[in-house]
C-alpha cells in the first residue's frame, strides 16, 4: 500500500486491477422494491476520467471544486474525478436538501475560492441561480450525470506530489466563519493505512454505511477506505436510514458486510425503532467492526445495542469504539479487533478535578468507554493552561502528532500556529520542538487505552455533528423580536444522553403573544431547521446571561448556574431527565459544601 505516492495513483491502479468488480452498491431511497445500483471499479474509472478531462479542459483542474450532491454514486464519481484531475475537492452539504441552507455553503464557496461546482441535473438550475445571486458568475457549474460533456480519452494523468491537497474538509468553524481542513495526499494515505491497522481491513472487507459523504467519517471511512483496500461498500442515504433504520442493519446479512458505523445516536435509533419481527430477519454475524466515533462513546449505547441485537448474531467484541476528527484526516485510535470495548468506572467528582479515581462504595459513578489504542500517532495528554504533559490516568487536552495530521486550515496561518503547531513545556519552562495538534477534546490515557471525557471548547457535538453555540443562539434569537440578540447561552447537559439547553433573555414588554408561544417558536426552529431536539428552553430576564468584559457569552458559567438551580426563569420547559439533573446537582453541591 505504501508504494503509492498519491491517492490518485492508488485509485488508478485499483481500477486497472479490479475492473468489473463492485466498488459500490447504492440502495436508493425508495420504499417499494428499489433496485440497487452497482458501480464497478471500471465504471467509476470511466466516469472519473470524463469528469477529470472536463475539469482539465476548462482550466480548473488546479483549483478547488465544490461538490454539492445528494447521497449517491454521482458524488463518488465526482470526488474521484477531482482526484484524477488533481483538483482539490470541497465536499459540502447540498443546500436544497431538507434542513440545509445556502448560508453555510456560501461561506464555504468564498473561503475555499472555488473555481467550479459539480452537482447533478436535478439540482443544477437552483445552484446556478445561487451562484448568480452570489455574484460568482465566473464559477463554472456542471451536472455530472449528463452525457454530453468531457472526453474520457482526452484525460491526462497529472503529476502530483504527496504534499498536493486531495480535498478540503469543511466540518470546522461556525456558519459565519467556516474552516476547511487541508488534507494532502500524504495525510490521506497515512490515515487510510492507520484505519487498516486499527480495523484489520483487506480486499474482502465490505462496508455498509449511511453517513453523509461530506462528513469525514462518511467520506474517509465509508467511501475512500473501500477504494484504498480494493474492497467494496454498500451505501444508503442518511434520510433512508433515519426513516427506516432496519434497512441499514439488513444490508449486513443481505450483502455480507463486515464493517460500518456511526455516532451513538445511530445505535440508539436502531435499539428504539427496529421491531422484534425485523430483528428476527436480521443476520449481523458478519459484522466484525461496528464503528462508533465522532463523540464520546456511551456505555449505555454499547450495552443496549449489544443486548438487543445479540439474537441477530451481533457479538459484544464487534463494537469498535474509535476516536478521530477531520483535523487528523479521520481516525486516531480504535479498539483492537476481537476485544470488547474497554470500560472504566470512575468517581465523577474526581473526574471533574482531572483524575481517574475508583468510585466509593455507594458514591456516584460514571462509566467511560475507551476509544481504543493508538498505532500510527503519538498522543499526549497535556494541561491546556501550563502546556505540561499530564501523567497516566489524568485528564487533560488530547494532543496529537502523526502523518495523518493535516497541515492546518485553509488560509488560516494564525489559527494554524496555535492549533496545529503547539509546543509542550517541561517543568522548567522549556518548550519542545512543537508540531502538536491541539484537539480541543479532553481525555486520559490508561494502560494504553484512550478515554475521551469531554470538550475543552464550547463546541457542541450532537449526533456526531459539530455545532457552534453562537450559530444556535443566533437561530434562537431570530425567532422573535422579543429575544435580544447576543443575550442567550446554549450548552449541553448529560444524563444517559446529551441534551441541549437554551437559556435566552426575553423582553416581556415586547412579547406579542405569551411566553410559552415564544418558547415553542424557539423549539420548532431548532427542531426543524437545525435538526436538533430542543426540549429545554429557559426564558429569563434581561441581564441574566453572563458575559465577559469583552462581551463574550459565558456558556460554561451559565451551564453551572443552570445545574445549581440558580437561574430564575420567567418561563421554562424542561425534559423530565434534565429536570432530574438539576435536582441532583443541587443535592450533590450541598453535600460537597458539607450541608
Amino acid at each position: 500500500m505504501t508504494s503509492f505516492r498519491t491517492f490518485t495513483e492508488l485509485v488508478l491502479d485499483r481500477a486497472a486491477e479490479l475492473g468489473t468488480e463492485d466498488a459500490f452498491i447504492f440502495l436508493p431511497d425508495d420504499a417499494n422494491g428499489s433496485v440497487p445500483e452497482h458501480l464497478s471499479y471500471a465504471g467509476l474509472d470511466q466516469d472519473a476520467r470524463r469528469i477529470a478531462s472536463w475539469l482539465q479542459a476548462h482550466g480548473v483542474a488546479g483549483g478547488q471544486v465544490l461538490l454539492l450532491y445528494p447521497s449517491g454514486t454521482d458524488f463518488i464519481k465526482a470526488f474521484t474525478g477531482c482526484l484524477y484531475a488533481g483538483a482539490v475537492a470541497v465536499p459540502a452539504p447540498l443546500p436544497t436538501e431538507q434542513g440545509q441552507h445556502f448560508t453555510r455553503v456560501s461561506g464555504i464557496l468564498r473561503d475555499a475560492e472555488v473555481r467550479a461546482v459539480l452537482t447533478d441535473s436535478t439540482n443544477a438550475p437552483e445552484i446556478s441561480a445561487w451562484l448568480a445571486s452570489e455574484g460568482m458568475t465566473d464559477v463554472l457549474c456542471l451536472a455530472t450525470d449528463g452525457a454530453d460533456y468531457g472526453d474520457p480519452g482526452a484525460y491526462t494523468v497529472p503529476d502530483l506530489s504527496p504534499e498536493h491537497l486531495a480535498f478540503l474538509q469543511y466540518t470546522s468553524g461556525s456558519t459565519s466563519d467556516p474552516k476547511g481542513v487541508m488534507v494532502s495526499h500524504r495525510n490521506l494515505l497515512a490515515n487510510e493505512a492507520a484505519i487498516q491497522h486499527a480495523a484489520g481491513t483487506d480486499s474482502n472487507t465490505r462496508f455498509s454505511g449511511w453517513l453523509p459523504f461530506y462528513h469525514d467519517m462518511g467520506l474517509i471511512g465509508h467511501v475512500l477506505h473501500p477504494l484504498y483496500i480494493g474492497g467494496s461498500a454498500v451505501l444508503l442515504s442518511p434520510v433512508s436510514f433515519l426513516r427506516r433504520p432496519h434497512r441499514w442493519l439488513k444490508t449486513f446479512g443481505d450483502y455480507g458486510a463486515t464493517i460500518g458505523g456511526g455516532p451513538n445516536f445511530a445505535y440508539d435509533l436502531c435499539v428504539r425503532r427496529v421491531t422484534d419481527e425485523q430483528i428476527a430477519e436480521l443476520d449481523l454475524s458478519t459484522w466484525g467492526a461496528a464503528a462508533n466515533g465522532a463523540e464520546p462513546v456511551r456505555a449505555e449505547t454499547v450495552r443496549a445495542f449489544t443486548e438487543r441485537f445479540a439474537e441477530a448474531g451481533f457479538r459484544p467484541e464487534s463494537f469498535f469504539p474509535c476516536y478521530g476528527m477531520a483535523e487528523t484526516t479521520l481516525l486516531v485510535s480504535g479498539t483492537p479487533l476481537g476485544r470488547r470495548p474497554a470500560q472504566r468506572t470512575v468517581d465523577p467528582v474526581a473526574l471533574e478535578q482531572g483524575t481517574f479515581g475508583d468510585p466509593q462504595d455507594d458514591g456516584p459513578r460514571r462509566t467511560l468507554v475507551g476509544s481504543g489504542v493508538i498505532h500510527d500517532f503519538t498522543v499526549k495528554i497535556v494541561d491546556p493552561d501550563t502546556r505540561q504533559e499530564r501523567p497516566e490516568g489524568s485528564v487533560g487536552e488530547i494532543w496529537v502528532k502523526g502523518d495523518s495530521v493535516a497541515s492546518g486550515y485553509w488560509k488560516r496561518p494564525l489559527t494554524n500556529t496555535e492549533i496545529f503547531d503547539a509546543h509542550i513545556t517541561d517543568g522548567r519552562g522549556r518548550e519542545d520542538a512543537g508540531g502538536w495538534l491541539r484537539t480541543g477534546d479532553l481525555g486520559a490515557l490508561e494502560d494504553g487505552e484512550l478515554y475521551v471525557t469531554g470538550r475543552l471548547k464550547e463546541l457542541i457535538i450532537f449526533a456526531g455533528r459539530n455545532l457552534y453555540p453562537q450559530d444556535v443562539e443566533r437561530a434562537v434569537q431570530s425567532t422573535d423580536k422579543a429575544l435580544g440578540v447576543g443575550s442567550g447561552a446554549v450548552f449541553t447537559v448529560e444524563t444517559d444522553r446529551e441534551h441541549v439547553v437554551v437559556v435566552q433573555e426575553v423582553r416581556v414588554s415586547a412579547v406579542g403573544t405569551d411566553l410559552r408561544s415564544v418558547a415553542t417558536g424557539v423549539q420548532r426552529m431548532l427542531g426543524q431547521e437545525l435538526n436538533m431536539p430542543a426540549g429545554n428552553v429557559i426564558l429569563v430576564r434581561p441581564g441574566t446571561v453572563r458575559k465577559t468584559t469583552s462581551g463574550k457569552i459565558q456558556r460554561t458559567l451559565m451551564r453551572k448556574l443552570f445545574l445549581q438551580g440558580a437561574l430564575t426563569p420567567l418561563y421554562e420547559v424542561l425534559e423530565p431527565a434534565v429536570r432530574g439533573t438539576v435536582a441532583d446537582a443541587t443535592g450533590s453541591s450541598l453535600a460537597q459544601a458539607g450541608v
Binding site: 433515519l242 423549539q523 436538533m532
Partner: protein, 91 residues
C-alpha cells in the same frame, strides 16, 4: 369516522401516535398531551423522519416529514392521518 381498509379510528390513531412519539422522545406515552405542540417535547427532524418511516411501515402511506410541522400536535396529526388513510382507501 371509520376507515374501512385499516379499521383505525381517530382515537386509535391518537394512541398509536402518542406511543410512537413517546418512543422517539424517550418519554412515557401518558406524558404526551395531544394538544401540546410536539416542538415543546424536543421533537426534531430525526423524530419527524422516524414518524414518517413508521407510518409507511404500519399504514403503507408515504408522507413527507414536513407533516409533523404542518400538523404540530398529536391531535392535528391524528386527524390528518385519518383523513389521508380515508382518501387513500377511497382513491
Amino acid at each position: 369516522m371509520s376507515v374501512p381498509t385499516t379499521g383505525r379510528t381517530t382515537p386509535e390513531l391518537t394512541a398509536w401516535l402518542s406511543d410512537r412519539i413517546a418512543l422517539y422522545l424517550k418519554r412515557r406515552p401518558t406524558e404526551i398531551d395531544p394538544a401540546v405542540p410536539l416542538a415543546e417535547y424536543g421533537f426534531d427532524s430525526v423524530a419527524a423522519l422516524s414518524l414518517c418511516g413508521d407510518i409507511e411501515e404500519d399504514f403503507d402511506l408515504i408522507l413527507e416529514p414536513t407533516v409533523a410541522w404542518d400538523y404540530p400536535n398529536v391531535r392535528a396529526l391524528a386527524a390528518h392521518l385519518a383523513e389521508s388513510l380515508e382518501s387513500e382507501a377511497a382513491g
